[in-house]
């Protein structure tokens, strides 16, 4: 048996353009999605800020990064989109970017209808004028993406960002459909999510109608590709979460005094933060590797994504848990944003497949079979 080797050396750095994009997104989020704003938004009927979305999607052009220019997008790649996702993770701002601009967009791009009915929708998603979500439970791993419904009839629970979406991409045994959420026979019911910054909904279709985008086989392939891109870029979100948690924890423990000294001077605490730093540094390499593999269409992409998810899920959760603990009582309050990051990190560790399911993917892809 041969050891699988990466096809080419991935570019694991950030380009100057990517750094410029990061600064633009970060400035926007600092302006429109500061922690008190996000906490207040999660207690309203809809946590999404339409002005944030139009600035991010249209003004910065982030929604169209994956879409070719001829279809109305920016013709960039997963590398740039990953930077946007990383910044969104750092701010835990509610925005349907990963679900619409990455997963739904990638699914449409991978469907055979890209020259037909998908083209117009892609243009609308790229401009940010509309959003779409893939109607599968948020915890679905790329490899486990069978059709949930036999036809456009029935209920799918746990769909992320469905309540704000204009269009549902519904994989059925008959094929992949685009269904308008405002159309007849479509009911979207908001659920109470663990992570308030990424709302979940149940969608019930009762004799709904939709546009067929791909037959069952092609649809399944497109959905897998959409979820693979989602899982790969989710690693960047997890990186952003972990970085924020570490930065804030360091800031807090430098300032907070107990026993007549900063608590961050105690080795018992600083070693834990140093360990987190090492995990963040490692998560960045894993996340960049996944983004680069997706961007270049590398045959190594499924393994790069599985490795990134198997690793980064735990890093984000660990960083958020340490953030709560090392903030002491402050970390347990509703007022301090640490809980938003813990909830996002924990929910993300299930999103697009748990670390365990991605390790199973590694077992197959790296030829390390189960007993």
């Amino acid at each position: 048996m041969t050891v699988p080797t990466p096809a080419a050396t991935p570019d694991l750095l950030y380009s100057q353009d990517e750094e410029d994009l990061r600064l633009a997104v970060r400035a926007l989020l600092a302006d429109r999605a500061a922690a008190p704003t996000v906490i207040a938004a999660t207690e309203s009927d809809t946590p999404y800020d339409p002005r944030l979305w139009s600035s991010l999607a249209a003004d910065i052009g982030a929604a169209g990064l994956l879409v070719p220019e001829k279809l109305g997008g920016q013709g960039a790649s997963h590398r740039e989109a990953a930077v946007v996702v990383e910044e969104l993770g750092r701010s835990v701002a509610p925005a349907p970017y990963l679900t619409s601009s990455v997963v739904a967009t990638e699914t449409l791009l991978a469907s055979a209808a890209v020259d037909g009915p998908a083209a117009a929708l892609l243009g609308e998603l790229a401009s940010g004028a509309r959003t779409a979500v893939l109607a599968v439970p948020f915890a679905t791993p790329p490899a486990g993406a069978g059709p949930v419904l036999a036809a456009l009839d029935g209920t799918v629970r746990g769909i992320a960002d469905a309540a704000a979406a204009d269009v549902l991409l519904v994989p059925t045994a008959e094929g992949l459909y685009a269904v308008e959420t405002s159309g007849p026979g479509v009911a979207v019911e908001s659920l109470v999510p663990l992570d308030l910054t990424r709302p979940l909904a149940a969608v019930t279709l009762t004799g709904a109608t939709g546009t067929l985008l791909a037959d069952a086989d092609a649809g399944a392939t497109a959905v897998r590709r959409g979820l693979l891109a989602g899982a790969g870029l989710l690693a960047s979100e997890q990186l952003g979460i972990a970085e924020w948690c570490l930065t804030e924890t360091v800031r807090h423990t430098r300032e907070r005094h107990q026993f007549n000294r900063p608590v961050g001077s105690f080795q018992a605490l600083k070693h834990r933060m140093a360990q987190l730093w090492l995990e963040v540094v490692s998560a960045r390499a894993a996340a960049r590797n996944a983004a680069d593999a997706l961007a270049t269409g590398s045959p190594d992409a499924p393994l790069a994504v599985a490795v990134a998810q198997a690793y980064c899920s735990g890093v984000a959760v660990h960083a958020a848990e340490e953030c709560v603990q090392l903030h002491g009582g402050i970390g347990m309050t509703w007022e301090h944003p640490a809980h938003l990051y813990l909830k996002r990190a924990k929910a993300d560790s299930l999103a697009y497949g748990s670390a365990g399911s991605h390790r199973q993917a590694v077992a197959e892809l790296a030829e390390l079979p189960a007993p």
Binding site: L12, M273, W277, R359
Partner: protein, 397 residues
């Protein structure tokens, strides 16, 4: 200042060297000397000292050309301490005469170097060292003390040595840095047998060792500062080369897993997958660090790599022993030997398990490295200390 040397120029000079000294017909040492003199040893060194004053990143251009031509190398693993620690320190702090005298035979491998830093009473707290250097009436330094964990001491011609020259000063300020002649009659080297059964390291006893003042590196009393350069280079040398997937200790375990299905259990499968992922991520982290260095944006990530590899090596080799079942109960050989090279992956799982215990101790314990990351990278405050402003002689021991 010579005109800037670019990749094309390095390539041209390398080809010129290969033409004037064909590796097939040139003796190994002669070739290496010619390579040094052509400035292709360390291209970032000054002209005349093995380099071309070129960016460090161009070294790989020369290395690739030379490897393609099957040119002999200087067996870097055999002279690792010279290359990784002594050379950058001599380059940074040596006099012109010291640089000219020591760098060429060091790089060529004619003279092996070792490092006389750690002592029985000065491990993580290296600055507490007690080896004394006292100046006699001739101006020479007379050194007495004991050093430990010295690899290659029995092969070495020279040592980099730190010793206390003023016990009345606080510990970091009374240290000076020397080049010690290992053939001095006052130098006694004894093998130090370790956990694996072999003696990869030595104890070195220094009794009335005479060192001329011309073999001092840096000013008297500035030895701690000079030593920082040495120690920094020790840690930076990790992450310098590209590691293939499954290139480290995970390789032999993955191979065993694939070839011997009868050993597989659900428990070891889950642990193997977790460690495989972590090893792959560590490889990517090292690769990212390498790309940062090549792009001229060195980051602090290097200090973390040693921490990561120490833990991974220990966990992976521990799993490997367990995976092997009955065979994990056996060990290859306890006979005391003094290996010239340490090959972490070349021996059996039991050896790897035991040897890797040292990975979190040698070159800075993991606990000290975590402090370094926390204080220098994250900017966290240091623990309060009571040893910084006290004369060394008044510290409790």
């Amino acid at each position: 200042m010579s005109p800037a040397v670019d990749a094309a120029e390095v390539r041209r000079r390398t080809r010129e060297l290969l033409a004037s000294h064909p590796p097939a017909t040139t003796g190994r040492t002669d070739f290496l000397k010619a390579r040094f003199d052509a400035g292709l040893a360390w291209v970032h060194h000054p002209v005349g000292l093995g380099g071309l004053d070129a960016p460090r990143s161009l070294q790989q251009v020369a290395d690739a050309e030379l490897a393609a031509a099957d040119a002999p190398d200087n067996d870097p693993r055999r002279i690792g301490i010279g290359l990784g620690m002594a050379a950058p320190t001599i380059l940074g702090f040596g006099t012109d005469e010291q640089k000219r005298r020591f760098l060429r035979p060091l790089w060529v491998g004619e003279e092996v170097w070792c490092q006389l830093f750690s002592e029985p009473g000065a491990g993580s707290d290296l600055a507490a060292l007690a080896t004394r250097a006292v100046r006699d009436e001739t101006g020479d330094w007379i050194v007495d003390g004991q050093k430990v964990w010295t690899s290659s001491a029995h092969l070495a011609r020279w040592a980099i040595l730190i010793a206390r020259t003023d016990p009345d000063l606080p510990k970091h300020r009374g240290i000076s840095y020397f080049i010690c002649d290992m053939t001095d009659p006052g130098v006694e080297v004894r093998p130090l047998r370790q956990i694996t059964g072999e003696a990869e390291f030595n104890e070195v006893f220094l009794t009335g060792v005479r060192i001329p003042d011309s073999h001092r590196l840096g000013p008297v009393g500035e030895g701690w500062k000079v030593a920082q350069t040495t120690l920094m280079n020790e840690r930076v040398s990790i992450g310098g080369s590209r590691i293939p997937r499954e290139g480290g200790m995970i390789g032999p375990v993955a191979k065993t897993w694939r070839e011997r299905p009868e050993l597989r259990t659900p428990d070891t499968h889950q642990r193997l997958l977790t460690l495989w992922v972590e090893a792959e991520v560590a490889r990517l982290t090292g690769e990212r660090l390498r790309q940062q260095l090549v792009a001229g944006q060195p980051g602090p990530e290097g200090s973390g790599m040693k921490l990561a590899f120490a833990r991974l090596n220990q966990e992976i080799s521990g799993l490997e022993v367990e995976l092997l079942g009955d065979e994990g109960l056996l060990y290859s050989e306890w006979t005391m030997v003094r290996p010239e090279l340490v090959d972490f992956t070349g021996r059996d799982a039991g050896y790897r398990y035991l040897r890797s215990k040292g990975n979190s101790i040698e070159g800075g314990t993991s606990e000290v490295l975590l402090n370094i990351v926390a204080e220098r990278v994250l900017g966290l405050p240091a623990e309060p200390r009571n040893d910084k402003d006290v004369a060394w002689k008044d510290l409790s021991r």
